[in-house]
Every structure is written in structure tokens, then in C-alpha cells.
Symmetry: C2
């Protein structure tokens, strides 16, 4: 007699639930900590204070900017900022600009960065973007390999000028 089939089960919540959501004011100190926890950016991020508060308010007030956090089991473990940029070139393409991508250093190489970027691209598509773009400091060869692995073309030189 054949074994009886396994009983049907309800899908259960995975042990580690990763979700993405808009950053809240209460996340901001943690967001600054994530952004600063990086050899290249540490010196220039500053310690959490009024300048970050003002920036958060400006992002909240903008229809084209989003600060997104990744939450794992209720803890903020990643961040990125998205800007939707309308433009005439490339046949009127709206661009998704991705800045300040960070993943908790204790959780690197576990696919979190990839999930974060996939969420960025999905948000971009929802907003009608046909091109994603970002720059990465020349001191970050590992990041460059990561972006190439996502299909990005390393086609441009990136320039910065303090004003």
C-alpha cells in the first residue's frame, strides 16, 4: 500500500524574514551608523546630528527621493537611497539613481546586497525608470565586481567637485 501523502501544511514564516520599507525618523541614527561603517566613507559621513536630520526631512519632502532600509528579523541591516530623475536624453528616459548602498558588515556575502539592489530596480520600474545608474569610489574594487555581477556596465567615469 502506498504511503499516505504528507499532510498539507500552511506556508510558515521563514526563520529569517527580510523586508524592505521606507526609512522612518526612528531609523536615522542606525542609518548613519551603517553609512559610516565603511573604510572609504567613515571620515566624511560625520556623527549623527542635525545635518542628517535636515537631510532626512528633505528626502521625506521630495516626491522623487526615497530612503529605503532592509530589515531582518526586525533589525535594520541595510540602507540605500533612490532618486527618480526625469530627463530628455536617452529618448526621455527616467533614471533610477542609487546612492549610499550599505549592508551590515556582519552580514556581507549572504545575498543581502543583491536583494537590496533587486528591490531598487523593482522600485525604479514601478516609477517608470528605464535605466539605473550609480557610481562607486575607485577604491572599492569589490563593489565594482558586485555591480558587474548584477549586469551593470562599467561604462562611465565618475567626477565629484566640492561646491
Amino acid at each position: 500500500m502506498p504511503e499516505s501523502p504528507a499532510p498539507a501544511t500552511e506556508p510558515t514564516e521563514p526563520a529569517s524574514a527580510l523586508r524592505f520599507r521606507a526609512a522612518r525618523h526612528a531609523d536615522l541614527a542606525r542609518v548613519v551608523e551603517l553609512i559610516a561603517d565603511d573604510a572609504v566613507a567613515a571620515a566624511r559621513t560625520g556623527t549623527y546630528g542635525p545635518a542628517h536630520e535636515a537631510a532626512f526631512d528633505a528626502i521625506e519632502a521630495s516626491a522623487n527621493d526615497e530612503l529605503v532600509v532592509a530589515e531582518l528579523d526586525g533589525e535594520v541591516v541595510g540602507v540605500m537611497q533612490l532618486t527618480f530623475v526625469p530627463g530628455i536624453s536617452r529618448n526621455g528616459a527616467t533614471r533610477l539613481l542609487v546612492e549610499a548602498v550599505r549592508v551590515d558588515t556582519r552580514l556581507r556575502s549572504q545575498g543581502l546586497g543583491r536583494a537590496l539592489m533587486e528591490h531598487a530596480h523593482a522600485r525604479g520600474r514601478e516609477r517608470g525608470c528605464t535605466l539605473a545608474q550609480l557610481t562607486s569610489d575607485k577604491q572599492r574594487p569589490d563593489a565594482h565586481r558586485f555591480y558587474r555581477s548584477l549586469g551593470y556596465a562599467q561604462s562611465h567615469e565618475g567626477f565629484k567637485l566640492p561646491l
Copy 2:
């Protein structure tokens, strides 16, 4: 007897008056023409049409985007797009993103591009930006030299991904 001083004159309009202003809808076909008149961008700009119209409307509707034209003796001879991007990183820096910089090919090497970029930086400062950033296709070494000559650091790799 000393010569009498030259009669006081009213300042006269210079022979070639360059000015910068927000693009108007009536400029759009010319703007697309300027953006497309370029070996790298020609194929991807498209011919003037509804996609550019929609992009123009989106720029007009955005509080953080400006399409700027340079006008010389009443003719549009240059264009650029400015985006003011609030952000948490770099101690809450607002960034000036410069895209789609073009100067009429007949008027190259006459300081027009420099004047255009100086106007971009002035607008950025007015909007509280502390950093200007842009990317330039790796196929444009002359443009890279130009941006370096303006003081830009060529510090980043630029990545693009179609969505």
C-alpha cells in the same frame, strides 16, 4: 591743455550676450537636437517626439529638477540638466547632479561649456548643494580633461543598467 575726458557712456550690451534660463517648451526640439548631435549619444537620444515631451513635463513638475539652456544672441546654443539630490551620506550633503551637458558643436572651445558649468555650480550653491557630481562615458576623454580642468576629481567608476 589736457584733452577733455571721454564723455561718460552708458554701459552697452556686449556684442555677444550669453545668458542662461530655464528651458521652455518651445525650446524642446532644439534641446533634443543639441543632445543628439554627439557621436556617443546620437543613436540613443531618438528623434524629437512624445517621450521627450513627457520628460519635459516631468522635469517641469519636479521641484528638484531644472533643464537649463544657454542662449547666445537669442539662439539656444547649449543645454544641461540639473538635479538637486538630498542625501544622508557625506554629513547630510545635498548633491548637484549634472546630466546631458551639450554645447553647439560650431561653438566648441570658446569657453561656453565652462560658463555653462559655472552656472550649474552657482545654481547648486543657491540650492544648498555642497557637492557636484556627474558621469561621463569612458569614450569621451576630451570631456574628462574638461571636467578635470574645472577641478573635478575623477574618483569614481560609473555604472549603468537598463531596467
